[in-house]
Amino acid sequence: MDLRFTEEEQAFRREVRAFIDAELPRATRERLAAGLGPTKAMTVDWQRRLNARGWAVPHWPVAWGGQPWSAIKRYILSEEMQAAPAPAPLGFNVAMCGPVVIAFGTEAQKKRFLPRMANLDDWWCQGFSEPGAGSDLASLKTRAVRQGDHYVVNGQKTWTTSAQHADWMFLLARTDPDNPKAQEGISFLLLDMKTPGITVRPIVTIDGGREVNEVFFDDVRVPAEHLVGTEHRGWDCAKFLLSNERTGQARVGASKERLRRLREVARTTPGDGGVPLADNPRFRTRFAEIEVQLKALEMTTLRVLADENRALKERKPNPASSVLKIRGTEIQQAISELYVMAAGPYGLAAAAADADTDALPDWMALAQGTYFNWRKQSIYGGSNEIQKNIMAKAFMGL
């Protein structure tokens, strides 16, 4: 057992930091450091810089722009980006659709889509959830009917993140409604968002944000060559997609960065009794408690990474990986709560869109909105309750 990073890994970390310092635009770093999300242009710009360096999709096969790296080196890159903070490469492209196309797609699909995904020439969105199909994803009803060399898609998707920015969507649609098994008879399709018959309507979330949408399909024609994998076997693609890159979900680097910033601002934020918040015993205790939980999560992440570093055949299903989504989201939510506590009454002034927030520091103005918004974390990507169902079944035989 040895917790230390090798000299090569440490040298790589320095190389990543130097790259970020040289390449990350100041405006992007400042916006993210304030707690705001990156604009679309910032994300595109940053991913293209990463791609030029060969670092946008390190986990892909080398032939498609990946790097022959260990899981630990990939983790170092992602941790340093979260710490900077820099925008993450677009997950829909690099972590979700890309790996599915690599694993299940045709050569023509790979050639056409992968380079543009890696360079963020196409912005992808995910068409999975429907009004009637959330945790029970396999009950989805959107239909795709084969007519000649096209599928004709009708139905509705929801919670579609950044559909308003998207050039393409990967979606699950039912192609065989007569199959009694819900998971069978679903296909995985790639859809050009400019196709006639698509309507995107924003859903305003409780923080006032407009990141998710409803997407309606009215006789949308998808060329049959945009089917990925076998017709009716789209569930295989979906399962594969959802099992990828679990260590990213823990977002340890991002949580560290949030705590570091909170520690800083707490020094100059008024607490009770005329002493700075940083000296308030309740604040200190809650802060330390989260730090401890995050330390444990970091160790669990490293354990899963060390496991992913092994040859595939030597790997055993690791219950530690299920912990990452659950604890990772709980810790991020706890940090967002601590920001609300830190902002105190001033945080109230900023929640409304018409409030004059110029007088407040950004972190204070954003505290409540972020807290509201981050309740999504324990819901998306398979809610934490679904994760527990999976654990009960896969690791405990219940």
Binding site: K295, M299, L302, V323, N389
Partner: protein
């Protein structure tokens, strides 16, 4: 970065696991617990024979040189079976003081017996007023005629009743809660003026309250430099926290295993109760807590030898917090998921619950360490 055991460590683990599996079923444990000395001398001799008792000691001292990882492996296995033997008291605590403070001559006089299983040690530090504060030491040692005279009282000395030697913290200068001025003394259990009252602790282990009335020891009883004992005591307690973390992981893993077996076999409403989602999610919570605790036990093993004492203390506090929280959750949920049967003395799970509760309490519970860590400004390196 590497979390795998070496081949040697793997062999050690396999051997010790076989020994314990053969000899430490729940019924045997009940018999061992019921009769004096409250642990199994025969098993203790078997541990010695396997080399387990030499685990943390240097090869030059006749030890196994297994380091904190070796201690972690053994402690976890002992936790799985709720072993009653004085491993923590003799090897980790007593042995730890000798490793860090004793001279070569003192080690040569004691360690061969410890490693062979013929010498038992105990570490006497808790006092009526001290709670978890190692610096709060009222027991006094005064120089007299070239030797030392000790007066005071110690409480809850783990396995203090059967130890051949007690390692006692005593104040040689300063006032009650000063961090300087505490010294460590090796006191033969049979010394005149030393009285021990042994008892079974809440978790079924043994401990003793000890009074020292004008106990005379020689100049060579002093371990380490006079007045500098606190630093050694803290270091040894941190090692004990690392060992307890691993023991807790073993005990929690066994608790989860027992609980899952019960969930799969116990039927109500015509089906195994493990098919109910409310119970499945509690079991999943247990597993999450155990995995996080395992991560912290590994962190402890890898960082307890950190030379920066302040950094080491903070990290071991973090370990103890996470372990204590996990131990409480797993212990409580194990009982709840067993229902009524979990409340009975005849059933194993309650004994795991009690040991897990003791592990949280020993050397400071989660709330104590959280308070101390918060006061110290947090972990810092995690943020």
């Amino acid at each position: 970065m590497d979390f795998d055991l070496s081949e040697e460590q793997q062999l050690l683990q396999d051997g010790a696991r076989r020994l314990l599996a053969d000899r430490y079923d729940f019924e045997s444990r009940r018999r061992i617990m019921a009769a004096p000395p409250g642990y199994s001398p025969a098993l203790w001799a078997a541990y010695a024979e396997m080399g387990l008792l030499g685990m943390p000691f240097a090869a030059a001292d006749g030890g196994f040189d297994g380091g904190p990882e070796g201690v972690m492996i053994v402690s976890e296995l002992l936790g799985e079976v709720l072993a009653l033997e004085p491993w923590l008291a003799t090897v980790v605590l007593g042995g730890g003081v000798l490793r860090h403070a004793a001279t070569r001559e003192q080690r040569a006089a004691l360690l061969p017996g410890v490693i062979a299983g013929t010498t038992l040690l105990a570490f006497a530090h808790t006092e009526a007023q001290s709670r978890y504060d190692l610096a709060d030491c009222a027991t006094a040692a005064t120089m007299q005629g070239g030797g030392w005279v000790l007066d005071g009282a110690k409480m809850v000395v783990l396995h203090g009743e059967t130890a051949d030697h007690l390692i006692v913290t005593a104040r040689t200068s300063g006032s009650r809660r000063d961090s300087a001025g505490i010294s460590l003394f090796l006191v033969p259990a049979g010394a005149d003026g030393l009285v021990r009252r042994g008892y079974t602790t809440a978790d079924g282990m043994r401990a003793a309250d000890i009074t020292l009335s004008h106990v005379k020891v020689g100049a060579d009883a002093l371990l380490g430099s006079p007045g500098a004992g606190l630093e050694v005591a803290e270091r040894v307690v941190d090692e004990a926290i690392a060992a307890l973390a691993a023991e807790a992981v073993g005990a929690m893993q066994a608790s989860l295993r027992l609980t899952l077996e019960y969930l799969k076999t116990r039927k109500q409403f015509g089906r195994a109760i493990g098919s109910f989602q409310a119970l499945q999610h509690r079991a999943a919570d247990m597993m999450v807590a155990i995995e996080q605790a395992r991560s912290m036990a590994m962190l402890a093993a890898m960082q307890v030898a950190e030379t920066d004492a302040d950094l080491r203390r903070r990290r071991m506090r973090a370990v103890k917090i996470e372990i204590g929280r996990a131990a409480r959750l797993v212990g409580q949920q194990s009982i709840q998921l067993h229902g009524g049967i979990g409340m009975t003395m005849e059933y194993a799970i309650g004994h795991y619950f009690k040991r897990l509760t003791a592990i949280d309490t020993l050397f400071g519970d989660a709330d104590h360490h959280l308070h101390m860590l918060a006061e110290a400004g947090g972990l810092a390196d995690a943020a």
